[in-house]
Amino acid sequence: MTFDEILDLLNGIMRTTGVFNFDPKVIVMWAIASMFIYLAIAKKFEPLLLLPIGFGIFIVNFPLVPMMGFEHGRPQLLQFFYHYGLEWEIIPCVIFLGLGAMTDFGPLIANPKTLLIGAGAQLGVFITFTGTVLAGFTLKEAASVGIIGGADGPTTVYLTTLLAPQLLGANALAAYSYMAMVPLIQPPIMRMMTSKKERKIRMRQLRPVSKKEKMLFPLVTAGIIALLVPSVTPLMGMFMFGNLMKESGVVGRLSESAQGSLMNIVTIFLGVSVGATMYADKFLSWKPLFIFGLGLIDFAVCTVGGILTVKIMNRFLKEKINPLIGSAGVSAVPMAARVSELEGLKADKSNHLLMHAMGPNLAGVIGSAAAAGMFIAMFH
């Protein structure tokens, strides 16, 4: 073998490595991935999702890695998860099944008025839609960006996959990031929107909710949603089915699996496959940055919408509602309710709002799903 032949051989081997095909743009993506992994590990910001998303971003941004493409017509590993999990809209629905099995709707059933707060908190979703259209996005893209303010990860993923899959990475990342940042974003808005007197409003203890009511709730809700917003039944149907399993008490094993192992498995697939959609060529443009900026405004307007709804309701109610629980209407369960509790305690150390805030918090999940259903109906 001559020296030239050895060099040719080495050259051939080099060409199959990532080093030879290196694109400097991926360094930016590594930085983004590292930031999310850091936030998940060091700051504990939504670690269950930001860690797999961060790793997904990291691993697909290496040249030649067989992760997110097709080989001889067969999907590669993460493409496989993405295709069957997200494109087929399975993962968000299974996550909702698990969430339903985890959720106690007692506070919402005891005070159903709070459902209206969940509707009011969708204000930002519709305002952001307008802003996004003005910026030159298509109507479908605008709807998928708007739903970020609903602070409901699975709903954002579901709607974006349906209407604007090209924005999935940016939208999911913005939704989960802002959900994690609820304790930073909401308190200043809550203080700005309420007076000291309003923050001290005490609410009557919630009535106990019977087992029968809790069992009836998922059936009634699923029925009403299926009748009025059928397009979102896959999400809400699974949510309510999970809850019925929990409340019925007769399928403990199924309920445990739904909220435990099944939920964990799909969370892994959701995280890595969402992260894997963000490769440098597609992600590095003005759109994701714009989505992040607008998502923040969206979130803030939704918070304002929830608080405003309580203030309007208080004009007609004899028993006033503490407007601090209005901010919990953005869903982000249970973080937003905890923020209401903490802000309430700052105003009055003996005024506990957590259970009261859980009502609008859960209503926010239903409200954001209803808003998503309205958008799906608009385009399908």
Binding site: P112, K113, L115, F126, V133, F137, E213, F217, L228
Partner: protein, 157 residues
């Protein structure tokens, strides 16, 4: 020459269809139509063709457009653009076999804002109905539970 020019201008006013552009705000316009109304935001025309033939023409003409949605309604076929084209919709009225009316409408903020407000109100209506259902169910169940408890305590005494 001047006479011919005048004749040409006169014909232009007499037969608007003959000078109609091939598109209206970027939306294709089927040839051979008679313009019924034309403003900056709306074009209405009538063509001597059946609904299905017109629909076929539009399906073919719009096949390369990305965000087009075709809705089959009872009164007609509604072709809508969900992207960012200058036109919003093309409506092909059903009914006539030899005469079909087509309406092309400009994309407008009135439609976008109108549909958004309606949908926001729609979210309220959904949750309001749920509120009413829960209140009713809660009242009925609470009463039945209270009645059962009263029976039990009466039986004990």
């Amino acid at each position: 020459m001047k006479k011919y020019m005048m004749l040409l201008i006169g014909l232009t006013f007499l037969f608007p269809a003959s000078v109609m552009a091939e598109d209206f705000l970027g939306a294709p316009v089927i040839p051979g139509g008679q313009v019924l109304l034309k403003t900056h935001s709306r074009l209405e025309l009538s063509v001597p063709k059946g609904h299905d033939e017109v629909l076929e023409y539009y399906k073919d003409a719009l096949k390369n457009f990305k965000d087009i949605r075709i809705r089959d309604w009872k009164q007609g076929t509604h072709i809508e653009d969900d992207g960012s084209l200058p036109w919003h919709s093309i409506t092909i009225v059903k009914g006539g076999t030899n005469e079909t009316k087509i309406t092309i409408v400009k994309d407008s903020w009135t439609w976008i804002l109108g549909t958004l407000v309606l949908r926001f109100v729609g979210v309220f209506i959904v949750l309001l109905l749920l509120f009413l259902a829960l209140t009713a169910a809660g009242a009925i169940i609470s009463k039945s539970v209270a009645r059962a408890e009263a029976k039990q305590s009466a039986a004990k005494t």
